[in-house]
Amino acid sequence: MKSHLFTLLTAALLALSLSVRGAHAATLPATDDPEARGLAIATMSDETNLGFGDTKTELRMVLTNASGQVSERRMRFNTLENKDTKDGDWNLMVFDEPRDVKGTAMLTYSHILEPDEQWMFLPALKRVKRISSVNKSGPFMGSEFAFEDFSGQEVGKYSYLWLRDEACGDRECHVVERRPLYKHSGYTRSLAWTDTQDYQIRKVVYYDRKDALLKTLTFSKYKKYLDKYWRSHDLYMENHVTGKRTRLVWENISFRTGLSEKDFSQNSLKRAR
């Protein structure tokens, strides 16, 4: 999912970890150093997204509860890669459906270990509100996704431990345990399956605060853009405790659309609709 919300690694991390360039499994640290190996895998995965510039996408979210009741949300999502590699990306989300929130727009300057900065424009109130909160772990629009599942998967957000390599579907994957470094995360840890060929995340399993299995996120329908950037078009999150599911469908992704910092300002929020 790193793929969606972009991110750069810090130069320091890069330097520290490896001299990876056109990373290959052969250059990974040995299996007797699982921490370095885990970090290297995450770094290589993150690197595949380097330099994407900006993207515009449309998002459809389908929520299903344990009784099978279904509800849909739609939004548009613009992202600007942060030039500062020590920080998270910027994004602007405009809600289209349900109708009563149409035109509501949310601007986020995401940060790695600090609370994100967030502003929201409410058309019914015709005002921009700044939201001050440390929380990134709550459900996004009532779905099974938390904002932290879904926003940038910068390398600096976790500590890593490589566990094993194993088959995942018709590919081979590295299985890496990630422990969030952000104090207010909703998880103790997650396991990420990253394939050994394209270094894209295929599956993530989340464990709650008591380290009990909570959710599984599956990525599918990967497509390659600009000959380099992979994007999954179908993210499926299943909550094992409540039986609720959410499918997140990414549509009409376009790269390098000419977005700039001024499109991610508080003033731009009001124009966003």
């Binding site: 929520l63 299903t64 509860n65 344990a66 009784s67 009741q69 279904v70 509800s71 809600f95 349900p98 109708r99 009563d100 929130v101 509501t104 949310m106 967030q118 929201m120 409410l122 058309p123 019914a124 109130l125 005002r127 921009v128 509100k129 700044r130 939201i131 001050s132 909160s133 440390v134 929380n135 772990s137 709550g138 459900p139 996004f140 629009m141 009532g142 938390a146 904002f147 207010h184 995360s185 909703g186 998880y187 709650d208 605060r209 008591k210 009990a212 405790v241 409540t242 039986g243 609720k244």
Partner: protein
């Protein structure tokens, strides 16, 4: 037939060791199943899958979140406030630790409450109400207290109005297929309580909630099983020795009882029946059946010994005489117990199945192992038994002489009792099922006196289509319903989505109190909600209050320790209010455990009454076949049905409120009720048909042959069941009392009503003239 029984009996007394070994092997195989024991204390197991209240409950669980709870309630002992620095520190710790309790999905406390606050005109802050509790100063604590006392979601639920008592609520979702989930939850919850009590000795900390209620049910049942039940066995054994003066007979009886019960429980495990609290009552039911079987065999053998027969001959004679009636009582009792399968509640079905098999095991062991054991042990003549049969003979004469007044009095008692039955009302107060000796009762009473209760009902109220919860009209209705509910005497607290929206509205408008109201239009509410939801942390979201398309919200109502009758009354009033004041989509019934359990008493009693009647009809049909007499079969209905009726009739004089324990009574007593009737009738018929005696002489014969066995087994069982009245668990206590009364009623009716009935009906219809009393037959067969 007699010949083959005779051959069988000879085989047993001649090969006692072989019989014992075979019995033990057979018992061993059944008992081996115990290694697969599966316990369950999941209260949902009480409801069949087609039960509408369970369906509603599960729908609620799927739509929102699980309503299972643990509630920590605390109060500083020194009279300081529940918002003191130390108290807040403990709350913060329990809140954090609460997430570690198995299957917890949410922890709500005054420290992690997501407080919204306006900073200036356009900044909204959403954060834990208390951060770093240990560092708070007086000013901060005053702000916290003021915020809580003005927040309807918190006051009266997580902090009392006087700010002296506070609570931490842990919501859990134990998986359905893990029958031991509750035990692991409760274990972790108690460990946390112990740790906190040690760390904060100045704060009283108690633990209650729906999971504690579930656990208390099974702990109460288990505690009785390990203390009172053995005591009951002991008293029964002691009485048996006194009544029969036969130590060997007593030992053999106790072995048969224990093996029958153990084999039935093991067999149940082979059938994959989980051990739920009701099922743990099976050993006691099996005990009554086994005692009755053995006492008949023993007493007949002792009588024969008294008449000069040697040991083996006495045993053979006893087996021959009792083979048919013991078989008949076992089969009919098993039918009666299997009738528990009519119950709506699966644990009762299991109880019936297990006890039914237990009755059959008791029959097998008492007809094989029991005589084999007797053969190997010394058995002298019992003067006591001998004397008792003589007394029985004189007693028979008295009954026959006074049969007309007895008939009138007894029928009068039975009819009066029947007339008293409609006075009963079904009312369960679940907390009061446990007396003050139990931790859960103390904690719940204290919590209820100081802050809140554990009875929670939920209304899922629908708005107008997807997103409808944001409509001002809907929110106004919701708010008004909440206000109405808060005015009801049974209601402790109401958590309404309307209060969430009102609070956000205020915070979005610079915390101006004038905006503490439902927003003016739907878009505004929906957009506030979107913003607020974005700012909530893991586990503290609104998914437990809103469904996925935001067309319905859940109103959570906490009640005082209401009885089921009060609960149903409130439910009816609430529905009336909704009908009068809201659109049709909101005219709904509440759901939740408290609602489910409020119907369990009546639903089960109705199912069980039908089941018991069907069982008695089947038993009578069996007796008609076995006795080859339509008339005797019909007559048997009266002494079978009358004992529980009379017992409940007398009980109604003491108390007219009954609970769901009543469903157990007849099932538990049925072994003895049927035993008494069958033995009296088979002996009567034997005398009447085979010995061609008159009705009166046949009655004398019945008394002389089985009277002693009947009164001995009845008195033993009455005494045994009286032990149960000492239980801290009301279900067992009441069961002990009313079963004792039922057995006593059965004995009295079989002695004082059945014989006059037989003489007046059977005697008259067969047209033989009442004869003068003749000498009492003392020899058997």
């Amino acid at each position: 037939m007699k010949f083959s029984v005779d051959g069988y009996s000879r085989f047993i007394v001649n090969n006692p060791i072989l019989v014992i070994v075979l019995s033990l092997i057979w018992a061993g195989i059944a008992i081996y199943g115990i290694t697969n024991f599966r316990f369950t204390n999941d209260y949902r197991y009480f409801f069949s899958s087609e039960n509408p209240y369970l369906t509603a409950f599960e729908e609620l669980e799927r739509t929102y979140s699980s309503p299972d709870t643990l509630l920590y309630v605390y109060q500083p002992k020194d009279g300081t406030k529940a918002t003191s620095a130390q108290a807040l520190q403990m709350v913060e710790e329990i809140t954090t630790q609460g997430w570690q309790i198995p299957f917890s999905t949410r922890v709500d406390s005054i420290t992690n409450f997501q407080n919204t606050r306006a900073i200036g005109e356009d900044d909204l802050e959403v954060r834990d109400l208390v951060v770093d509790a240990g560092q708070t100063d007086a000013e901060m604590r005053a702000y916290v207290e003021e915020t809580i006392l003005n927040e309807p979601l918190l006051v009266g639920r997580l902090l009392s109005q006087d700010a002296r008592t506070g609570a931490i609520l842990v919501s859990l979702r134990p998986p359905r297929d893990d029958t031991m989930a509750t035990s692991s939850i409760v274990q972790a919850a108690r460990d946390l309580r112990a740790e906190m009590r040690k760390k904060y000795p100045n704060i009283r900390l108690e633990l209650t909630g729906s999971q504690m209620l579930s656990q208390s049910f099974s702990e109460a049942a288990q505690s009785d099983l390990s203390t009172l039940t053995p005591l009951m066995y002991l008293i029964i054994a002691a009485f048996l020795v006194v009544a029969t003066r036969s130590l060997s007979g007593t030992i053999a009886t106790v072995i048969v009882i224990a093996l029958s019960a153990a084999a039935a429980m093991g067999f149940g495990s082979w059938l994959n029946i989980p051990i739920s609290p009701p099922v743990s009552g099976a050993p006691v039911i099996i005990l009554t059946v086994a005692v009755a079987d053995c006492v008949h065999l023993l007493i007949t053998a002792l009588v024969a010994r008294g008449n000069g027969a040697d040991k083996k001959t006495a045993i053979i004679e006893s087996l021959s005489i009792n083979a048919q009636p013991v078989f008949l009582t076992s089969v009919t009792t098993a039918i009666g117990l299997f009738s528990l399968n009519f119950s709506d509640a699966p644990p009762y079905r299991d109880l019936g199945t297990l006890s039914g098999f237990g009755a059959l095991f008791a029959w097998i062991f008492s007809m094989s192992l029991f005589p084999a054991l007797l053969t190997l042990m010394p058995m002298g003549a019992s003067k006591s038994v001998d004397m008792q049969s003589r007394i029985m003979g004189r007693f028979a004469d008295w009954v026959i002489l006074r049969r007309k007044p007895l008939l009138l009095i007894m029928l009068g008692v039975a009819l009066t009792s029947t007339a008293l039955l409609p006075r009963f009302t079904f009312n369960d107060r679940f907390v009061e099922y446990f007396d003050e000796r139990m931790d859960f009762r103390v904690a719940s009473d204290w919590a209820s006196d100081n802050l809140t209760g554990i009875y929670i009902i939920n209304y899922s109220l629908a708005g107008d289509g997807p997103g409808g919860v944001s409509e001002p009209d809907y929110l106004e209705d919701l708010d008004n319903f909440g206000t109405w509910l808060r005015g009801q005497p049974e209601v402790k607290h109401v958590a309404s989505f309307a209060d969430v929206v009102k609070r956000i509205n205020r915070s979005m408008n610079a915390d101006r109190q004038s905006f503490y109201a439902v927003p003016e239009n739907r878009e505004l509410s929906a957009q506030y909600l979107l913003l607020y939801e974005m700012s909530l942390p893991y586990g503290l979201d609104l998914n437990d209050q809103l469904n996925v398309d935001k067309s319905e919200s859940r109103l959570i109502v906490t009640l005082t320790d209401v009885s089921t009758v009060e609960m149903q009354a409130l439910r009816a009033r609430a529905l009336g209010w909704l009908r009068e004041n809201t659109p049709e989509a909101m005219h709904v019934e509440p759901s939740g455990q408290a609602v489910m359990f409020s119907y369990i008493g009546r639903r089960n009693f109705e199912a069980m009454t039908q089941g018991t009647l069907v069982a008695f009809l089947l038993i009578s049909a069996c007796l008609m076949l076995a006795l080859r007499s339509l008339r005797l079969g019909l007559i048997s209905l009266i002494p079978n049905i009358a004992p529980p009726v009379v017992a409940f009739g007398v009980f109604s004089v003491i108390q007219t409120e009954v609970g769901f324990w009543t469903s157990f009574v007849t099932a538990t007593a049925i072994g003895l009720i049927v035993d008494a009737t069958v033995h009296m009738l088979t002996k009567y018929r034997h005398a009447r048909i085979n010995l061609k005696r008159s009705a009166e002489d046949s009655v004398r014969y019945s008394f002389a042959t089985v009277g002693t066995a009947l009164w001995v087994s009845s008195v033993i069982l009455v005494t045994g069941f009286m032990v149960l009245t000492n239980s801290p668990f009301l279900i067992n206590g009441m069961l002990g009392l009313v079963v004792s009364m039922t057995i006593l009623a059965a004995l009295i009716l079989d002695f004082l009503l059945l014989p006059p009935l037989l003489i007046e009906i059977d005697g008259r219809l067969r047209g033989d003239a009442p004869s003068a009393p003749t000498s009492t037959p003392t020899e058997a067969s």
